[in-house]
Amino acid sequence: MKATPLSNCERRFLLRAIEERKRLDGRQCYDYRNVRISFGADYGCCIVELGKTRVLAQVSCELVPPKPNRPTEGILFFNLELSPMAAPGFEPGRQSELLVKLNRLIERCLRNSKCVDTESLCIIAGEKVWQIRLDLHLLNHDGNIIDAASIAGIVALCHFRRPDVSVQGEEVTVYTPEERDPVPLSIHHMPVCVSFAFFQQGTYLLVDPSECEERVMDGLLVIAMNKHREICTIQSSGGIMLVKDQVLRCSKITAVKVAEITELIQKALENDQKVRKEGGKFGFAESIPNQKITAFKIERAAIDTNNVEEQAEEIIAKADPPSEVFAKPILHTPGTAQIGEGIENSWGDLEESEREEAAEEEGEIEAAAFECQKMETEDTSTMSETKKDEPIVLSDSEEEEVIILEPQEVPKKTRTQTNSKQENTSKKAFNKRRKKKRAAY
């Protein structure tokens, strides 16, 4: 399915709001949306919600032979999937640009920064190592997939426990979780991505763009940093031109944001750890409130309504009064009515040789007339009325048959037609023909 396009009005509105430093959801330029982290029952499974954007992460492991050129290191594999569940524009199985971009970003952020110690994943050099696989699924797209995905990824990796292994000589014993407690992965640091959206050739910048903001932005800059203020990845995309001090400024903002987010992550991990140890209930079932009908709610956001009244009054005062309304319907014959009168057909003599002076219905908003409703149907509007005693000269177009209502000058939509015997059809005949026409469908 194609995603619904953003209308020009919305685009202009968003851009003007950004120029006035206002955002649709009331945030400031550098504010993040609420981040919620919830864990599943298994180790290594978590869902991160950034506003309405939701990402599910799952880590799993398996024993494999290592890569030939790196015999002492474990293997990390990252995969991000966009399913149509996230947004109607995403299609399954098709590698779009966005997918490639996101995947590469996640890979660079988590793999090249060496946040996971791969040497510790080695069991027997050259023969058996752990392969850690991180799968990310986007559940809902409301902007800023990268940040949510990176947070989900790193939280899942921190949360994951792999089975304990012992090596005796050549023999490897893998213990099940019942025999020995599973062991966490050794994580050096937690890189978190922060996205900046640029507007108007870099004049305005927003942190954590929502989906509409993403659609109108000029470009995106993603900086991944950890809490020790080391930059793990920078990526600019979207064809914007940056200047060096913009980049430096962004990196400073990132440092602040990352500190906050890392704290949040730590707290969430600790909470979960505590709950599990105390034997309490954990898992997704707990984190989704079940007294509510929908599990998807928006927190209250404070909105500044101080000036709203004055602004509204101002606008109303300045606006023009509404234009005159045509009040009275014109009754031609019992059962037909017409509201307003159309203007003359300006198409010139199309098919008819006669010019009719009767009023036109073209471009008229529906009259209440029953007939009119039937005639109106399709496209073109070669309208012409006929006066009563005049034979209609036919055109050779194969448009539908014209039904001429008889003697009264009822303006009607008619079509040019292919028979020529019109005058004075009685109403009965008219009805008959009408029925015929209807039957023709």
Partner: protein
């Protein structure tokens, strides 16, 4: 390659579409590669190339048409992306397509507190931070910025500066080459 007409559904009504394809020859790296294109890295690099050139080429002058850029790596020794960008700049200039400025790209890294410019393959494999920068030298605007591996925030400026300088030096070289070629061509055509 010059401007190409066509490209049905993706045609943009007010500007040209830039289409890039990146591929590496199988003999380009130390070990023979199996798949020349189709892997993720090739896709990503092609995407970055496209992004860089869309920003640099004056696409508004060619509505509803497509510009294709094909890059093939014959020998890879570090700085693949940068070489591609520089080569493509020259190609686009040679084709006569108007651009805002030369696009010069260079990589830079850090080795124990010294910023290095234009990393070669062993330096890249050493695992230090690597910054790739595509710059339009006259205005100093950055068309593409990409960093992999850890770099402390304080060092960012130093590395950016090193890359910027390398790009400017490159710009001088490219400029010289283009003018030389122009001179040759006019001499040949003039006769």
């Amino acid at each position: 390659p010059p401007q190409i007409r066509g490209s049905r559904s993706k045609a943009l009504p007010d500007r040209a579409l830039v289409n890039c394809q990146y591929s590496m020859a199988t003999f380009s790296t130390g070990e023979r590669r199996r798949r020349p294109h189709g892997d993720r890295q090739a896709g990503e690099l092609a995407l970055h190339l496209k992004q860089t050139f869309e920003a640099a080429i004056l696409t508004e002058l060619y509505p509803r048409s497509q510009i294709d850029i094909y890059v093939q790596i014959l020998q890879a020794d570090g700085g693949n992306y940068c070489a591609c960008v520089n080569a493509a700049t020259l190609a686009v200039m040679d084709a006569g397509i108007p651009m805002r400025d030369y696009v010069c790209a260079s990589s830079a890294g850090l080795a124990e507190d010294t910023p290095l410019a234009d990393l070669s393959s062993p330096e890249e494999a050493a695992g230090g931070p690597q910054l790739v920068l595509a710059l339009l030298p006259a205005s100093g605007q950055i068309a593409l910025l990409q960093l992999s591996a850890r770099l402390h925030q304080e060092r960012l400026e130093a590395v950016l500066d090193a890359a910027g300088e390398a790009c400017r030096a490159l710009h001088a070289v490219l400029d010289g080459v283009v003018r030389e070629r122009l001179r040759e061509v006019t001499v040949l055509l003039g006769d």
